[in-house]
Symmetry: C2
Subunit: 556 residues, 2 copies
């Protein structure tokens, strides 16, 4: 193959495609590069669109600006990055034998054949729109591109009510954006929890509380059956559980990989429905790569193929593909399903396997829920976070984590991402020499505390139930002591029904008041005093005692 004349054609011009082309040009000044995009804009940060609708910035063009404020349009890519971008141009089909991509200019209707030596599919995803009555009404829309954002923004200027369908990342971000704009928001989710594939129920429950606290009418376990309208415009949404007024409807039930081109060309489609790729992101045709939201990834922990369409992965994919086109032999090992989202005043993040995931793949997970202040509790601005760790019982390896709270959640998740990638045990995490000063952490970082608490549980030193297990107990027949060991002042402020107060400071001297024949479940605000109570009581010979993980802060 003649290096000089090599022609690379990229289909899809948002994250993955533009990354391939940009990196490729840096690696090879000679190769001919053409990016084909059917949309009118390229290289935009879709992730920022909800914040535009929220009103955090005014100019929609900001989502495709460089940090220096230059708009990334075709001219920018030609002049700065040094390759051709053809927007408003659709790739119609691939003649793989001839290595020809047929494209159509959507403005002129003209068609053309583009010869390629290497083809890159970066065709991304497409929002799922269920075929229910009313889906085509004006005012019913998904959020994917700047055009969509412009359309939804226009609606939001006059809307007084909105229904969001789907409690995933985009649904949650849109709920916040529209609620902050003063619109009465109903969020409808078919499952019994938001972020169903990402969070265990108990952690999701903390997010439910936050949504409701902020006035979102959260309808869990309801499926949308129809959308009603007047004069072609949406007015109501009917679900299996109710009927909700809607001047606008955001459809956010998920996305599907856009694989039309790949499938039509006979490329292998993987079990997830996305394009099957090897570790070098090559498709079943060695001249064709796939990158970003149209391609599968591998779960680093289970080795299974997964579909987690994210901008972070799309960019990584793009870089790997560019390197491989240049013969640099890069691989993309896989992902952990890391996710983070801000929901009003809560930060919500996860990585690795949830407890549910771990059970599903046949592992024996041990979990622990530990709330802590995110920095020295006396430093101004300290805010709580609730960490749920999941570890493998036998190997003690960390399997995953979920962290929720108004405090600094992202730091601990990213630290765990590193730990998980490298196969750390919970014992190794507890020994991490994390950087400590009061404005940033506590002497024992919340992560280290959570790891220690989990080690205690694995070692039989800490004996605990999580809030869901306690709730089951409360609903059952067993007559147990639900022992609140906080102070009287804390108790008078907020308490859990059915609990009995015995402050930790008096526990050692008032042991006689407690029954030895009944189970005792101790708790406090965080879990620290609950755990201490468990140890005190055990030390005093009580043998049916445990504490409730998460304390008041983990109680849904």
């Amino acid at each position: 193959m003649d290096q000089k004349k090599r022609r690379v054609v990229v289909v899809g011009g948002v994250a993955a495609g533009m990354k391939v082309a940009s990196r490729l040009r840096r690696l090879d000044p000679e190769v001919e590069i053409t990016v084909i995009e059917r949309g009118s804009q390229v290289s935009y940060g879709a992730c920022a669109l909800p914040y535009y609708i929220e009103g955090l910035f005014e100019d929609l063009d900001e989502v495709r600006q460089t940090p220096a404020g230059v708009v990334r349009d075709e001219t920018f890519f030609r002049k700065v990055k040094g390759f051709d971008v053809r927007a408003s141009t659709e790739a119609l089909n691939v003649a793989r034998k001839a290595r020809i991509l047929r494209v159509r200019d959507l403005q002129t209707g003209e068609e053309e054949n583009l010869a390629y030596d290497v083809l890159v599919l970066a065709t991304g995803n497409r929002p799922i729109l269920p075929s229910i009555p009313g889906i085509d009404l004006a005012g019913v829309h998904a959020l994917k591109s700047p055009e969509d954002a412009g359309y939804l923004m226009d609606l939001s200027r006059t809307a007084r009510t909105a229904v969001i369908v789907g409690g995933g990342l985009i649904g949650l971000e849109m709920a916040e954006a529209l609620a902050k704009r003063g619109i009465a928001v109903t969020l409808v989710e078919m499952k019994d929890q938001i972020l169903a594939s990402a969070l265990d129920f108990g952690m999701a429950a903390l997010v439910h509380r936050e949504l409701r606290k902020n006035g979102v009418n959260l309808r869990l376990g309801e499926g949308v059956q129809a959308i009603e309208g007047e004069e072609g415009r949406v007015s109501r949404v009917l679900t299996t559980g109710g009927s909700y007024a809607a001047d606008m409807v955001v459809m956010a039930i998920g996305v599907r990989p856009e694989v039309t081109l790949a499938r039509d060309a006979g490329l292998e489609i993987g079990p997830t429905g996305a394009i099957a790729v090897d570790a070098g992101l090559r498709t079943s045709d060695p001249s064709i790569y796939a990158a970003g939201d149209c391609a599968e990834s591998t779960d680093l922990l289970t080795g299974k193929k997964v579909y987690v369409p994210l901008g972070s992965t799309a960019n990584k994919h793009g870089r790997v593909v560019a390197d491989n086109i240049c013969g640099r032999n890069e691989t993309f090992a896989g992902i952990l399903g890391s996710l983070i989202v801000k929901v009003f005043d809560l930060n919500v993040a996860r990585t690795g396997l949830s407890e549910e995931d771990a059970r599903l793949v046949g592992l024996d997970p041990v979990t622990l829920l530990a709330p802590s202040p995110d920095r020295a509790h006396i430093y101004p601005g300290a805010k709580p976070i609730v960490i749920k760790l999941v570890a493998d019982r036998a190997s003690r390896r960390i399997l995953g984590a979920q962290i929720v709270g108004p405090g600094n959640v992202d730091k601990r998740i990213d630290t765990l991402v590193a730990a998980l990638t490298l196969g750390a045990t919970v014992d190794q995490v507890a020994a991490f020499d994390l950087a400590y000063a009061p404005p940033f952490a506590s002497a024992m970082d919340p992560l280290i505390t959570a790891a220690n608490a989990l080690r205690n549980k694995l070692d039989g030193i800490g004996i605990s139930l999580d809030p869901a297990e306690v709730m089951e107990l409360l609903e059952g027949e067993e007559d147990f002591v639900f022992l609140d060991v906080r102070s009287p002042a804390e108790y008078s402020e907020v308490r859990i029904p059915g609990s009995t107060l015995l402050p930790l400071g008096m526990l050692r001297q008032r042991l006689a008041e407690l029954p030895r024949d009944r189970r005792i479940v101790a708790f406090c605000k965080l879990s620290l005093r609950g755990y201490e109570a468990q140890r005190i009581l055990q030390g005093a010979g009580f043998d049916r005692v445990c504490f409730m993980e998460g304390g008041i802060l983990g109680w849904p």
Copy 2:
């Protein structure tokens, strides 16, 4: 040994000692535990004292309160944690054969012998006070305990000028605290940089800029020679470089491990001057443990003994000792020298080996300086951070990192702490599935970008000099082109003397204007465009071209 009657005596009641005792009681309800502390208060968070002086909280007692607001005094420890604390009591000497600790009640003067089965030394550190003229003047003080903080707080209420001696962690925190209180602060440091053992010069230079910006009179390379006073009160500080008015002087030139008791008892003292311990934190006497600031640690990367006295380590040590007293066979592998400190609006953190450290131990480090916004640059509140990564050339393993900036520094440092602990290469870091959403990061996290830029350097794709190397060039004879590839608007706002403007967007079409026989050093605000320029020029056949790492943001 009879479990029931075992007596454990702990000397030192701040972090390590109290942790040993607290954990020990949880593990063993029977053992007799006594903590001896010569100070009047125990279990205080010294780390919070500068923030008290800054005025961030009013009640000094807060530094020894639990998150629930209870003061950790002797009563608290007896009632809640279940052991005896004897404050204002000094340990005088250890009769190791007889296993007896002699103590004196500092209030009554009474002495007493305490028999022990296990002794724990948690005697901490002592601030270094140089024997220079005037060191004993009123108003000259180190900061270690709440009493010290009370004393310095009193001084600060009337002081108009203050001299801080020492540019370490405490010196920096006190500079900020006093300056924020409106006092004219001079900070004197003997070395040519602050945090000399923690940061490479270039990174420290960014902190120097911040100190000066905030009105601190920073005197580098000056040693204190004498302190002058009037009527027994300090008035001036004389250094090798000048004389500075001082209504108060904070001595913060470092600390030494408090090993008097250990040394007198004939225990082995390590090469660092701290008590030598094995991986289980046992001293040379198997009945005596040492924990916290009086004990040595091991550097996880070099395997060398090091002395890095920190509250985070003290607490970890304490827990390990308690476990080992109970036969649980815990080890403390070591530390990375992680450090973090807030200096006005800058967050300053480091972990692992600096470039200087790496050279000193004979490694072949490759470094990279990369500034980035800490989250999506269009998300409100995005702030820059400058990451310096240090990696081993041959193995590509990360050796260390320094991160400075107003943005989120701590997240990236802690992620790297995990990576370093587990031996990650820069290639592994670049593939981390870090959690991304615009309020928290960028699609390619700054850490991933820094890792990729370092990989480019290792791979010969990125060719760069760091600012210090460029400064040397500027001072030398070579006639090179110092090429600013930012926009005219950015150039008119701030520029580096001696630079020539040629915006990146015009570079490809104006190549003819650049000389092919001279070196070209390209730069921009961050480095991204500088790097792009380097690739463009190289691609066009310029062969003496590089970019300046760190750009304007890394320029000291």
